[in-house]
Amino acid sequence: MPKQGVVPDDLTRPFWEAANEHRLVIQSCVACKHLQHPPAPVCRVCGSDTVEWKEMSGRGTIYNYGVVHDCPIRLLQEDQPFNVAVVMLAEDPGIQMYSHLPGTPVDEVPVGAEVEVTFEATANGQMVPEWRVVGSSEGGEQA
């Protein structure tokens, strides 16, 4: 599905730069090892301002989903209805990422299923992590 372009800001630049290299990175506290997403200037657990970016395996599971029928973004309205799933990372199920689940039919989302990261280009070429059910067909709406 088409996505709006992304202009990385200071807080998220490492995340977006890694995505352009087809890598998924998540912010991690050097002091207490806590992973956090969305990123923040300091660790939300211990307050340390020494945070680094850790590469993830790109594996996760589908925690939950909804089906969007009335989307506020014009670019996506053509594709209504569409899935938006919440993926939990294998490294830490407390870390969530959204996904359109390319390849998964609308409202047929296998909650609990394993997914793996893939990367797709947004409107301005910035790559964004997306997720695909492991073993699902490579087809779907993604073309």
């Binding site: 709006q4 202009v7 800001d9 998220t12 909804g66 969007v68 014009r74």
Partner: protein, 439 residues
Amino acid sequence: MTENAPASMYRTDEGMGLWEHRGKVAAVGVGHSPTARRWDGRAETCVGAISLIALRRAIEDAGVDPAEIDGLVMDPVTTTGAYWPKGKPVPEEVTSAFNCTDNPLDGIAGLSAEWILKNMPELTGIDFTMYGPGCMSNAICVAAQAVGDGLANTCLVLKSWHNYEGRYYQGGANAGSDLPGTAALHALWGTPACYGTALQFAEYCRKYGKNHDMMAPFIENSRQNGLKFPEGYWASHRPEEITPEDYKAARWIAKPANLFDNDLPIMVSAAYLYTTAERARDMRQKPVYILNHAASNTRPRSLTPTLDEVEADTARTARKIYEGAGITAADLSFENMYDGFAQFHQFHIEGLGYRGMKFGEALDFYQTDISIHGPNPILPSGGNIGCGRSRFWMHTDCIQQIQQRAGERQVTGVKPEVAVSGGPMPLGGRFTVWSATPD
């Protein structure tokens, strides 16, 4: 300059004991403006103008000399999601109708305490102003604490909303093309505002074996109660019920949330008059005493709250509510927790343990008599579903029910003695406990 209330004015922690001002602060006056779906561009209907109406009605309702009022607590943000378009000229016939501040959009797309004071010359005694931003739930906590702390003796509390032409949330960033990196982490997937709540509801249904249709009696009851709220949008403009059939036939917005699980953004303003219990004694209306206020500052670990996070926090909030008020769930005559979106109302009341309810039981409870005439009233105000988006109907209703002047909405199956209201979301809400007596 009016400042935001410091974090210390909210009762956020567990273990704080009884609220130090329990029963020593009271609500004595209520004022509502008329409602409108959208601003029609006239001076007398702008958000500033409707705020003046609400404030003056609250003062009159309490029977107080305006010169005696020394405090004003309000929310300077008035948007329902509608923003003044960049570069659009500010209509001169509107600004010329009022005493303006340095901000040309003050009174049109936002509201400062300064604007209110400049346009209410009768308020000659105000020496305390403070912002309780977010919604009325926040502002009344700040006002209660301020009166209790002696920062003000007789204090107006105000919350107003503006809405313009165009669809909800379709202005601003949603209309543009590129998103800033931080916002993109949420916004790229095109989820409408109700999506997060829909997710929690989906998880709730899976965990407890419930389904969307089971919400129908709650929606029907909310709208029925709202149609008995003469100040509400639906009662005054479009007296339409939502039958179970209507509800089940509505289109999805973000499945499992449908159109009628969402509220309608409107223009409206409400004001209350708070004062000390002592001063309240000889006012026109029966005082409604504040037993406690409580707050949640909990944030989700990641993008969206999980059901576990929601349940842990509503339970924690309930403990704070009861502890500071010195009551238990058994003392609640009725509940008026927030409902915009409808699908989180059950989280609030399950956390409260309303009528002994446990997690996963609210939707079954909705299948029983939850009307204002039964022993277990649910949301007698009708909330946002019943009256339109204001986030304050439930507070007004608690005051009016306990004063026995809720009119057609008056609960008859219980004696209205103690009630709780608050919101908005289960995580991050602000709550008030109301009582007919100070102890």
